[in-house]
Every structure is written in structure tokens, then in C-alpha cells.
Symmetry: C2
DNA sequence: TTGAAAGCGATACCAT
DNA sequence: ATGGTATCGCTTTCAA
């Protein structure tokens, strides 16, 4: 029941405690014979180095703090899984934080800092620039995933949501759609702001300014309700862009099963994200895929670089989304 | 850039380092005046106690290791979110592990133990009983969530999957269904084994033994494919139980959109779990709800009890599922 | 290559 | 109520 320490192993192996430590540090010089002796002793005692004690002296915990606010948004479980997998594979641990609905990222970060995480990844949420400065002061690099702050001390990796919105505007107009609508996700999120901005700006550039709009949140239910309402009030709508896939799925279900609208013949629907269920045959949703793998890879690269070199300047990395053509949108003009 | 320690605060406040420590320990006796003085100094320096150093001496990290293998199974994001929220609220941190597809839980546990987590929660995965013994030896309590091991040194909290399967068998027979099928989830999981056993045993008890069966995995695609195959080969099937909701949703889509089968008129479908999408109007899936909140509460209770009292005997807690009546299943006899 | 000893940043015990 | 000191389990000089 008493936990075995390097001193116990040293005693059994007949070496000094320093030598035990060296055995478990890949870098150190140690005679293979002594090493084996120590490993054998460690094995019989069931010894493994105490990572906490190690952290105290090395000033490195090998822990990355991961802050994720929207775990139940279907886009994020995969993101989370990939982050964890990549971190584990590179020998890092993940301390997971999820701010409660009434909490800010700023509320949970002090905890992460108390545990002396070596770096922080914050997904789909922002922090105050005061907090960013505090992290910088403590030498804890931060990378935002799918959010950014201008002029603050943090790097960020984002899908190019503006360009995604523009693509959809172009596709709709090119296909000859004329009565367009947008159902917005959570109003204060940069993903929604950027997608909407790209979409609306591009439409305006091409001379279209009367777009029906509804304000929702990123959920199936919200997409369902708002689509129902919008389509009832505007029977002539022929193309609908939803802030993300799960909203688009709700909108499709509302249109088809409540209103008997045929998709894409009578109504074109676009989503955003490319979550797994977007590919289900019943939805077959045309959408902009967020290149999750590349975004994660880039996030970790930026973070690791800044762990090695804390003064490296922050960077904003925009990664283009990719159109996934399925069948929920008519992309050709009807002749 | 140099990190501020209690010594710095002590110097600024004009007190001893011990006093600084006491200021941040709720239990200790300290004069309100000195406390305020220290807090002020800490504030100006931006000091917060180093949790790593504290852990080293208290022998408590306040970290719970959470092992979750199937984050992308739609049942789990909510479970994860609730666990994190509850842990945070009680002042704990969560170190998250997700074994890679080619990894066992046993492979990631040593890491968790090196970080001296105060307890371990393992969801939907088992561990060897050797590993269980190792945790016990180190005094690290373990609670399994939705799995159990007989005779090992671990507590477990499970939905009563056997009884859930029995309920569905009864409901099917009571409604007069005669041509029954089961589509199994991952073969080696205790959830599938128990659900299937309960279902099949009860059918046999009531004299039904010719049940069509297909072996799948817990995914939408698997449910879709297998339902398609089963229904093509057995056009007379009138009731189908799927190992979980996401499979049932795949099965519904296959039946309706590929085969034009009307649900529940021509085919009754049951799922298991009650994930959020089971309530979507287009599915309206009749299912057995896993009482997630109660299961999580119980899991944490057992864990915390054993952190306080490591020698407390392991316990297996079975929590009954609850029938959620929606419209994918005909539950009354046709007259 | 190995051992002795200092130190990481706290807590906790023992005096005062 | 406060301060001094040992201690937690390691890593890392420094000598030998």
C-alpha cells in the first residue's frame, strides 16, 4: 500500500537513487548492465517514476490543457478524439476542461494554469485578452481552434469560414437560385459571424440583397423550428444555407416531413462542417467540410513550436474548407 | 517570465512562507488581517499556488483519470460532458485518455498511474484483473461505467442491460409480433452481450426461439447495411431490436427509404440508449433510456467513497433502464 | 559511470 | 496566530 519510490528500487538494486533516476531518463549515460539491474528491481517492485515529482523539478508537466465548450455539438467529438489521440501518441497528456453554460473560458483557465500545463488548446471559444496576457506572462502558450482574436497574444487555427460562405453564395447564384435564406447559428460565435459575412457579402457583390434570415443556435431543433417558420412565411424560397450541418439536417427534416417539400428539386440546402451524419443517405447533405485533420495537425504544430520557443510570435492560420457535393443542393441551372 | 512562488509573496507581504501557504489552505488558522495582506500581495504578483508542488506533499492530485474509448459513439459525448461538469463542480480535474483502436485500456492506465490520479473512471471498456490489482495495490480506486468484471477488484455502474432486453422481448410479444430479429452491436462488449441475452432468454421463456440475428457494430452504417440485408432476406419480419439507437436509426432509414417499409405499421423498431437524435421527429424512436444522470452520480459517489476509504469493498450497481415510448414501435395488438 | 547533495514549491509539524 | 524546518520524490549539478 505504501507507494514504491526510486529509493526503494535503489536499495534493492544496490545502487544510488540517482542511478535509478538515470535509468528512467533516456538521455543519461548509464552502463547497460546497471540499467538492466535497476530495471529488474523496478519490475519486481512495480515501480514507475512519479510524474508529479518529476514535473516539479523539470518544470514541465507534459500535460496540455484542452478547453472544449461544446462537446455535444456533433462536430466536436471527433475533434476531441483526434486531439487526444495525437497528444497521446506524442507522449502528452490532456487535462480536459468544459466551461459550464454560465461560465467563461476565463473562469477555467486559472485552474489549468495552477496545474502548470505546458500549453493550452481552446476550441470554439475565446478568452479575454487579459487572460491571454496572463498566459503569456506565465509562459504558457495558447492556440485557439476555430476561433481567433485580433491583436491578442494567441495563435489560432481556423477553417476559412468567410470563404466557405462565399463559395455557397456563388454556388447558389450560379445554379440560378433566386429566393435565398440563411439560418444563423449562435450569434456571438466567430464561426457564424464569418460564414454569414462571407455569404451575405458575396451575394451583395453579385447584386442580391434581399435574403431571408433567421437567428438560431447550432442545434438540430433550432434548424427544424426556424426552417419550418421561414418556409411557411416564404413559400417561394428555393435555397437555404444553414450555419452548420446539424441545423441543416433539422431544416431538411422540417421541409420534407412537415411541409412535403422535395429536396433538392424544390429547395436546395447547404450545411457547414461535414459531420458524419451529413453523409447518411437520407440526408446526403451538400456542405463545406472543415479539414479537421489538417486543422488539428496545424494546431499542435503551432503549440509545440511555442512550447519549445515561448517567444515565437502568434500566428493566425486559415485553412480552406472543401465543398462536399452530395444531393441536398441543386448545383446546376435548370434548362 | 520567472514564475512567482509563495516565497515571493511572503517577501512582499512581510510574512513567512508558511503563512502564505496557510492563506491558501481553507482549513488553517490565520488572522484575517494577515490573510488580507497576503492576498493583496498575491494579487499584485499574480500568484496562485502550484498544484503540482502541493500534490507532491499532500499525496493528492485532485485529478481523476477518465478513460473513454468511444468518444464518437453518440451516446458518449453527453456522458463525457456530464462527467467533466460534475468533476469540475466538485473541485476535481479530469485527465482524459482514449485508447487507440489497437490499444487496450491496460496500455493507457500505467500513464494515468504515473500521474498519481486520485481515482479512475473507465467507460465502456474493461481492464484485465491484473491491472485492477495493480490499481488496488497503489491505492487508486477504479469505477467502471457501463462495463463490469466479475470477481475483480473494481466497482462498476451499469444500466441493467439484461432487463432492458427482456422488456423489449415482452413488448414485442405482447403486441403480437411474431417474426423477430436482433441486430447485434460489437460482439465482445458486455452491453451487447447483456442486451441480447435478456432479449433472447425472455423470448425463449415465452416459447419463441426462431429469431433472425445479424452481427454488426455500434454504428449507423452497420445498422443500415444489416437491416437492408435482413429485411430483403426475410420479408415477413415484423419487429426488429437493434443493439443501440444509432444502429436503429440506420435500420429505420434503410427500411423506409430503400425498401419503402412503413414504420411502425409494417415493422416495429426498438433501439437502446435514448441518444438525443432518437427524439427527432423523423425517427421518434422507441427505446430504453439509459439513466445517464443517475449512472454518473452513482459512479462518482462510489469513486469518491473509495478515495476517502480505499479499502471499501467493490460494488456492482445496476440501474434500470426506462422505456421511452415513441412511434417507431407498435406496442398494442392489432384487432 | 556512479554517488552525494542541492533544490523544485508547496504542506505540516513543532515551537514560540 | 505565526515562523522555522523537515519532507514529498524526483532531476541535476558536482566530485570522485
Amino acid at each position: 500500500m505504501k507507494r514504491v519510490t526510486s529509493v526503494d528500487v535503489a536499495r534493492l538494486a544496490g545502487v544510488s537513487q540517482s542511478t535509478v533516476s538515470r535509468t528512467f531518463s533516456p538521455e543519461s549515460n548509464i552502463a547497460p548492465a546497471t540499467r538492466d539491474k535497476v530495471l529488474a528491481a523496478a519490475e519486481t517492485l512495480g515501480y514507475a517514476p512519479n510524474a508529479i515529482a518529476r514535473s516539479l523539478i523539470t518544470n514541465r508537466t507534459n500535460i496540455i490543457g484542452l478547453v472544449m465548450a461544446n462537446i455535444t455539438n456533433p462536430f466536436y467529438p471527433y475533434v476531441l478524439e483526434r486531439f487526444i489521440a495525437q497528444l497521446q501518441q506524442s507522449g502528452w497528456q490532456a487535462l480536459l476542461f468544459s466551461p459550464a453554460p454560465d461560465q467563461d473560458v476565463d473562469d477555467v483557465l486559472p485552474l489549468a494554469l495552477q496545474y502548470r500545463v505546458d500549453g493550452l488548446i481552446i476550441t470554439s471559444a475565446t478568452m479575454s485578452s487579459e487572460m491571454a496576457d496572463e498566459c503569456a506572462r506565465q509562459g504558457t502558450p495558447v492556440v485557439l481552434f476555430n476561433r481567433y482574436i485580433f491583436g491578442a497574444n494567441v495563435s489560432a487555427v481556423c477553417c476559412d469560414n468567410v470563404e466557405g460562405g462565399r463559395m455557397i453564395a456563388n454556388l447558389m447564384l450560379d445554379a440560378g437560385h433566386r429566393h435565398l435564406a440563411y439560418i444563423a447559428g449562435n450569434a456571438n460565435t466567430s464561426t457564424n459571424i464569418d460564414r454569414e459575412k462571407g455569404f451575405m457579402d458575396r451575394l451583395r457583390e453579385r447584386g442580391v440583397s434581399d435574403v431571408v434570415r433567421a437567428q438560431g443556435v447550432y442545434s438540430y431543433e433550432s434548424g427544424y423550428e426556424l426552417a419550418l417558420q421561414l418556409l411557411r412565411e416564404n413559400p417561394s424560397l428555393d435555397a437555404l444555407f444553414c450555419g452548420n450541418d446539424i441545423m441543416a439536417m433539422g431544416a431538411m427534416d422540417a421541409a420534407r416531413s412537415e411541409l412535403g417539400i422535395s429536396i433538392p428539386n424544390e429547395l436546395t440546402i447547404f450545411g457547414f462542417d461535414d459531420i458524419p451524419s451529413a453523409a447518411w443517405p437520407v440526408y446526403s447533405l451538400t456542405t463545406i467540410r472543415q479539414p479537421v485533420e489538417r486543422m488539428i495537425e496545424k494546431t499542435l504544430q503551432l503549440l509545440f513550436e511555442r512550447i519549445e520557443e515561448p517567444d515565437k510570435a502568434p500566428v493566425l492560420e486559415l485553412i480552406p474548407g472543401e465543398l462536399v457535393r452530395r444531393t441536398s443542393a441543386r448545383l446546376e441551372r435548370v434548362s
